[in-house]
């Protein structure tokens, strides 16, 4: 298959095959062509050249509906369900069973119930989708694919918003679909999952086929990583140790509406402190209170001995406390505005007398950080939405580094949705900043990342800090067990 867009060859002559009943991984950095491939497969867009064959027959389809008919179903990261309708209604959407225009409610429910049981999905068919968790919604999407007798189901980053328990349920469902002979295309950034689930693997790089592994058991992870990046990456963390100075950030008694039990901790200058916990453990709530994005109920945040005014991001920023938020799309980037404006938004107050902006200085500032952080963008005028996740994260980092006196950097999920190459660049930057004396707080739900880059870890569970680990004492099993609610009960 080939597909070009003006100026870019997004997919160049890529071919691969998948056996019936196989789970096939599709990996590659952002921009490698995975999304394009998925789009062609889903019928959303048409290829410039190339064919899709199922059981030896060439499939020609021009729309998403045609792809459904052909038995190819793509389950996107953003789920395509109507929240106000019930599970059963969603599964029938587009072809409601009806007699003379009147809904056949009996059939609507009974058939769905049978299908859900069939694939082992435990969801009430008459529940509204809005009342389901993200994991359950995804199950419903998969059930929809099963209802349409899908022969090929493509899952695009299916676990990105699932808890580990929900992921396990998904994995067992995938195993059952596999046993039925369905082809599963599994697109993911997560090596662990791919190696655990997939029988075979295709690696894309710059729109081209970088490698095809019909038998994944013969391949190592390092090999796949270097195929993705096109160069050897021996250790993506690249951890560097540093000397720690005085206590820089002191948090006392911090609590708020969504974090009722108070929290205390300290970070030293030059130290990288990690927060690990499962989804809902209160990590992001804690960062928002810390930064003043949400109202505090109690607590004091002290930087270098001076208290920071609560409930106000501007006060935090002036005191040198900045936050790179977890959800970049919702809380980080300013869509529709340029890279330059996204960098200058906060720091421009430092060089804008009487509120008059200084275009030349803003341009210089943007160019400086585009160079320094190696932000890949055609120009500083580019709309930020067109940058990859990693480059958007760098822009937000640039926004804060442009502030003269940042003393505490809080970075929530520093590399979510970011490809391997950009990841190590961001880690290296964090080490540099810490070495220059900054106190850094990293929040992450990826344990290898927290263990890989931090000097110390605080584990959160149920809105409390349950345990602390020094780097020398890092132990994957113990950290995980401190994060799970049930094991915590038995601890004194």
């Amino acid at each position: 298959m080939s597909k070009g867009y003006p100026g870019v060859q997004a997919l160049a002559d890529v071919s691969f095959g998948v056996a019936r009943g196989a789970v096939h991984g599709l990996m590659g950095e952002n921009g490698a062509g995975k999304s394009t491939l998925i789009r062609l497969l889903s019928g959303d867009q048409r290829a410039d050249a190339g064919d899709i064959l199922i059981d030896g027959t060439v499939q020609t389809y021009a729309s998403v509906r045609d792809a459904f008919e052909a038995g190819v179903i793509v389950i996107h990261q953003e789920l395509q369900l109507v929240p106000e309708l019930t599970v059963a209604e969603n599964l029938w959407l587009g072809r409601f069973p009806a007699r003379a225009g009147v809904l056949d409610r009996k059939r609507l429910l009974s058939e769905v119930g049978a299908r859900l049981r069939d694939v082992g999905i435990d969801v009430n068919p008459s529940a509204k989708v809005a009342s389901l968790s993200i994991g359950e919604r995804q199950m419903v999407e998969i059930a929809k694919a099963v209802m349409l007798d899908a022969r090929v189901i493509a899952l695009d980053e299916p676990t990105s918003s699932l808890s580990s328990k929900e992921s396990e349920i998904l994995f067992s469902l995938i195993a059952r679909l596999k046993a039925r002979g369905t082809v599963i295309l599994y697109v993911s950034h997560r090596l662990d999952e791919v190696f655990r689930l997939c029988d075979s693997l295709t690696v894309l790089r710059d729109g081209k086929l970088a490698a095809h592994h019909p038998d994944l058991s013969r391949v190592t992870r390092d090999q796949v990583i270097s195929e993705m990046v096109g160069r050897e990456i021996t250790n993506i963390w690249g951890y560097r140790s540093r000397l720690h100075g005085e206590v820089r950030l002191k948090v006392e008694n911090l609590s708020g509406e969504r974090l009722p039990r108070p929290i205390d901790f300290e970070v030293r200058a030059g130290e990288i402190l990690g927060f690990f916990g499962l989804i809902g453990a209160g990590r992001s709530e804690m960062t928002r209170l810390l930064f003043g994005a949400d109202s505090r109920r109690t607590g004091r945040v002290v930087i270098d001995g001076q208290a920071v005014a609560p409930d106000s991001p501007p006060a935090s920023i002036r005191a040198g406390l900045v936050l790179c938020p977890e959800d970049r799309k919702h809380d980080g980037i300013i869509q529709g505005r340029s890279v330059e404006e996204n960098i200058a938004i906060s720091a421009r107050r430092l060089f804008s007398p009487f509120g008059l902006v200084h275009p030349r200085k803003e341009a210089e500032l943007a160019d400086r950080f585009i160079g320094q952080l190696r932000i890949r963008t055609p120009s500083r005028q580019q709309d930020i939405v067109h940058l990859s996740g990693g480059n958007q994260q760098k822009v937000i980092l640039g926004r804060w580094l442009a502030e003269a006196g940042v003393r505490v950097l809080v970075i929530d999920e520093p590399t979510r949705g970011i490809d391997v190459g950009a990841k190590s660049e961001i880690y290296a930057l964090l080490y540099d900043l810490a070495a220059a004396g900054m106190a850094i707080v990293v929040i992450s739900s990826e344990l290898p990342e927290v263990m890989g880059i931090t000097d110390r870890i605080q584990v959160m569970c149920g809105g409390q800090i349950t345990r602390q680990f020094e780097r020398a004492a890092y132990d994957e099993r113990e950290i995980l067990s401190a994060a799970f609610p049930d094991t915590r009960q038995s601890r004194p």
Partner: protein, 317 residues
């Protein structure tokens, strides 16, 4: 063909279309391109033009203001009545501008501080303020006592009436504010992503209150000039102004989703509205048809904008 498409759908597409339409109309419509008609045309768009300046900020920050028409009428009434009772035009003008600004601040506080939807809030204040305008004079028009008040609209500088100068000044001023001040940049940032702007240190609540306050204040100025031109305070003046102003902004490429605005676009939008009306008057087209034409121009402009956005994303991928 390809290059024509490129020009029309490009950044300056609207300006090009406007220029073409202007030339076409100048050639085909008699009496259009005369000094008298041009000045008349400009004078007829003064109210829309002035109010569009701040409506642009409102829309660019993802807000909305339906109360502008009522505020213009109300502050016009206040200007006339306060001048009459105090005997001082200056006091009348100050009172009008203050009243406009107060309406704006109330809008802003309710919307930004109490987080009530802008559409609902300004729909309510639109009716309340119109009510005040009617109550203040028992629904009657109020004549101006001091003839010096007329001079506001009649004075000509270099042959151009003062209100047109004021409109021009506002265009320059708010164009500068949008592009060259932190206020303007923050307005666009809030429109682009309010939560991200807040977390980047922009004081979103204060900004939004200021935008509405400015909007009210500018409506006060527009109300004064309108009262002076129609030589009285009319409680029913400027009905439907909100729709014309929003149309002009949208015509000018201001995004209703926020984050995108340009002063030149808005000026062109205002002029297109004015020219359409002017030409229809010159051609003796019945007023009823003018509604249809105005609506169609707006629809066409939005469709064009849609094409432009999709063309831009296509070429980027």
């Amino acid at each position: 063909m390809q290059s024509l498409k490129k020009i029309l759908l490009g950044e300056q597409g609207l300006v090009v279309i406007f220029a073409l339409a202007f030339v076409l109309v100048s050639i085909t419509v008699p009496n259009f391109l005369t000094e008298r008609n041009m000045l008349g045309l400009l004078q007829s768009v003064v109210t829309i033009g002035i109010v569009s300046c701040t409506m642009m900020f409102c829309l660019a920050s993802r807000d909305f203001d339906l109360s502008v028409g009522s505020t213009v009428a109300f502050s016009g009434m206040v200007a006339v009545m306060a001048s009459n009772s105090t005997g001082s035009i200056l006091l009348g003008l100050l009172a009008a501008i203050t009243c406009g600004a107060i309406v704006g601040v109330i809008n802003g506080v309710v919307i930004a501080r109490f987080r009530i939807n802008a559409l609902i809030t300004t729909l309510a204040t639109m009716q309340i303020v119109r009510g005040f305008a009617l109550i203040s004079s028992d629904g009657r028009a109020v004549g101006i006592n001091d003839p010096a008040f007329y001079d506001l609209a009649l004075t000509r500088i270099l042959g151009v009436p003062a209100p047109v100068w004021v409109m021009g000044l506002f265009f320059v001023l708010f164009g500068f504010v949008l592009n060259r001040t932190v206020f303007g940049k923050n307005t666009l940032a809030i429109g682009g992503n309010p939560e991200a702007a807040r977390l980047a240190g922009v004081n979103v609540v204060t900004m939004r209150i200021w935008i509405f306050a400015l909007q009210g204040l500018v409506c006060g100025v527009a109300g004064i000039l309108l009262a002076s031109r129609i030589t009285s305070g009319q409680p029913n003046a400027a009905t439907g102004l909100e729709l014309s102003v929003i149309s002009a902004c949208v015509l000018g490429g201001v995004s209703l989703a926020g984050g995108r605005a340009a002063m030149t676009g808005v000026i062109v939008g205002v002029l297109i509205m004015g020219i359409a009306e002017n030409v229809m008057n010159l051609l003796n087209i019945q007023a009823f048809y003018q509604y249809v034409v105005r609506g169609m121009i707006l629809l066409l402009a939005v469709l064009l904008d849609n094409l432009r956005v999709s063309a831009a994303t296509m070429s980027r991928r």
